[in-house]
């Protein structure tokens, strides 16, 4: 149970960063943290059936469920792509508005276009 509480805490930390923090880089960090929280949750789920590596050989018992691990490998790759793309966009926004504050960026873009 304690593991799940910690994962929930981790998720809340990331979600707090996305919603409350005004710095766009911290928002991207928040996205990375909530991604990590869900990855750990799946890995924890996979370990319910055991902790041994899922290489079926005589004498090997209580192996982890490999499917959540396989799923999370995909999710991690997607998460890395999203973080890289988000940081690229942050860089472009910064070069235009010389600020990382989301409201300031929005205001400057609004002023430019109107």
């Amino acid at each position: 149970m304690i593991e799940r509480c910690l994962i929930f805490l981790l998720f809340l930390t990331g979600f707090h960063a996305i919603i409350v923090r005004k710095n766009v880089i911290k928002k991207v960090f928040g996205l990375g943290i909530i991604n990590s929280a869900v990855v750990i949750l799946f890995i924890l789920e996979g370990s319910r059936s055991g902790n041994s590596a899922p290489i079926i050989q005589p004498g090997v018992q209580d192996v982890v469920d490999p499917i959540p691990q396989a799923l999370m490998l995909t999710a991690v790759v997607i998460g890395v792509c999203l973080t890289a793309l988000a940081l690229t966009l942050v860089y472009r926004l910064y070069t235009h508005s010389l600020s990382l504050h989301i409201d300031e960026i929005r205001r400057k873009i609004h002023d430019t276009t109107h």
Binding site: K27, L31, V38, E45, I78, L85, L89
Partner: protein, 574 residues
């Protein structure tokens, strides 16, 4: 000999092969690079039509191709299912993607655009045959990543912010989607829709609250992509600031594909019907409110973007009613056919409007509805000796205003006839009236106005590329043909969705009745009246306040949280 069981992968694989070839073209120079890029585009966007043509007959008679990729065990491998709805989603995707890609060839540098566009199209093809909940997540993410880049590719500062907001809200929503996947996997140990449904049916109370909340999380995450109110905040900027070809595909295809893919997911649980009911209500309200907001806009593309939200409201309203009635019941299938009919017809006329209005704004260098006038003359003076853009706009205009015999009239009428007597229909009719007013306002940009100074006519350095005209003519023909043969097309969509059954209740005579035509005249007059009213000072002031209503990044997440909580509560306590 290629079997149908192989052909079903063509709509996903051919665009991917094309994307690989287009990436290779980036490393080459000169004409070789250009030829390879065009070959890649044709491979990814033209060849799939042949596959769909070959699959048409079997799909029409209810053939369903299902299995596990690589012949793995059902619980381990990725399940797929190609049926009528898959065929239709692919048809929708390719019929709009092809003219959009042709239009984009007018840009100077398409070497980055083509591979990304093909990857996005491949994701639509893959999503159409998803029968595995994790694979749906992957398809949504691939489609999302390609579209974030394509939105930002217009290189405007506003486009970067729109893309960033779109990315952050979608990616965060997909984390909730994964929580939903976790819930189902924990309950059933399965990922394929059929296995999850079977596993849940063996559990007491179908998995109880945990299953319902898992489904609500998945539904909420997908609905973000569909942009139903209140989860629409990312869309207006993304669609308004993207390159025109991308706007056409975003509005025509990408906001609808996840909705139809979701119809299989909500079937997993009986409480999925409640989710459909709530979404149907949200769709009706969305159709009206978004139409009102579109009337208040002064940017030509932003008006079109809000109009897209309004029309997705129509589609979601019919879709929600179909899910609520049960997608396996005749009533549900007919409503789903009407929803799909409007999805296809809207994709055609909105794509056409985005392209024609987009090129007008580009050529005149003005996007302001209140300041741009006399665009027809401007286009003529700048080389469009045979008018294409204005007639194309007119076809889109008549279609979106639902005037007979254009396609919008048929699809909106079929939804209205099916929902007659429900309060949602009142909202949809009101939305139609406001849409007419908004598009009369937009159409003013093409005509001179004695109260607005005419723009200075300066000859442009470059002439408009032929691909711009070809794409507009292509979409105009689709709009005209789908208007003339609309009753037959809607009947065919219904047959494909119902596995060959002739359930569609309407013929051409059902639409062209005297009371029906009188209603259309009345609604058009009401739309014109509203347009006249919108020019008065007091109404103009109200519209200005609607346009300048406060919007923030955090608001997107608040709306998502509220939407998610409302969906879960409705499904639990309904």
């Amino acid at each position: 000999m290629i079997q149908h069981t192989d052909l079903i992968f063509a709509p996903a694989l051919l665009p991917l092969i094309g994307a690989a070839a287009a990436f290779c073209a980036k490393s080459l120079r000169g004409k070789t690079s250009r030829y390879l890029e065009i070959a890649a585009g044709c491979t990814g966007l033209v060849l799939p039509f042949f596959a769909l043509f070959l699959l048409y007959k079997s799909t029409l008679y209810g053939a369903v191709y299902k299995g596990v990729i690589g012949n793995w065990y059902n619980d381990v491998g990725i399940s797929y299912r190609f049926d009528g709805i898959s065929w239709l989603i692919n048809f929708l995707g390719f019929i709009i993607a092809l003219p959009a890609w042709i239009y984009a060839q007018s840009e100077k540098d398409t070497k980055t655009f083509t591979p990304l566009f093909l990857i996005q199209t491949a994701a639509v093809g893959a999503m159409a045959m998803c029968a595995d909940i994790f694979n749906l997540f992957v398809c949504l993410e691939i489609m999302g990543i390609a579209s974030y880049i394509l939105v930002a590719s217009s290189a405007k500062p506003g486009a970067f912010l729109a893309s960033f907001s779109y990315l952050m809200i979608s990616a965060s929503a997909m984390v909730f989607f994964l929580f939903g996947v976790y819930g189902f996997y924990r309950l059933t140990g399965s990922l394929s829709y059929d296995s999850i449904a079977l596993g849940l049916s063996l559990l007491p109370d179908n998995g109880g609250h945990a299953a319902v909340i898992s489904l609500a999380l998945i539904t909420g995450a997908v609905v973000i992509r569909v942009a139903v109110m209140p989860l629409y905040g990312w869309l207006p900027d993304a669609h308004a600031l993207a390159p025109h070809a991308v706007s056409a595909v975003l509005s025509g295809v990408l906001i609808k594909t996840p909705l139809f893919a979701l119809s299989r997911v909500v079937d997993i649980l009986p409480s999925g019907r409640a989710a459909g009911e709530l979404m149907g209500y949200a769709g009706a309200v969305t159709a009206f409110l978004a139409a009102v907001i579109s009337l208040s806009q002064s940017d030509v593309k932003r008006l079109l973007a809000y109009s897209s939200i309004s029309h997705i409201g129509y589609i979601v309203c019919a879709w929600g009613a179909a899910v609520h009635a049960g997608t396996h019941t005749p009533e549900g299938r007919i409503l789903m056919s009407a929803a799909f009919g409007h999805a296809v017809f809207h994709a055609a006329f909105k794509g056409l409007l985005f392209l024609s209005v987009g090129i007008t704004a580009d050529r005149t260098g003005n996007r302001d509805i209140t300041a741009l006038r006399g665009a027809v003359k401007f286009l003529y003076r700048n080389g469009e000796k045979i008018p294409v853009t204005f007639p194309a706009f007119c076809i889109g205009f008549f279609s979106i205003c639902a005037l007979p015999p254009f396609n919008g009239f048929l699809s909106k009428s079929s939804i209205s006839l099916l929902l007659a007597g429900n309060w949602q229909n009142v909202f949809l009719i009101a939305a139609g009236v406001v849409t007419i007013a908004a598009f009369i306002r937009l159409a003013r940009i093409y005509f001179p106005d004695k109260n607005v100074p005419s723009p200075t006519y300066t000859p442009l350095a470059s002439s408009t590329s032929g691909s711009v005209y070809i794409s507009q003519i292509f979409l105009s023909l689709i709009c005209l043909c789908s208007g003339l043969f609309g009753p037959f097309l809607l009947h065919t969509f219904s047959r494909i969705l119902s596995g060959g059954l002739r359930e569609w209740p309407f013929s051409a005579r059902s639409f062209y009745t005297i009371p029906g035509i009188i209603k259309i005249i009345f609604y058009s007059a009401a739309g014109f009246g509203l347009y006249t009213l919108s020019n008065t000072h007091s109404v103009n002031r109200v519209l200005y306040l609607i346009k300048e209503r406060p919007r923030s990044f955090d608001g997107l997440f608040t709306a998502f949280g509220l939407g998610l909580a409302a969906t879960a509560a409705w499904m639990l306590f309904r």
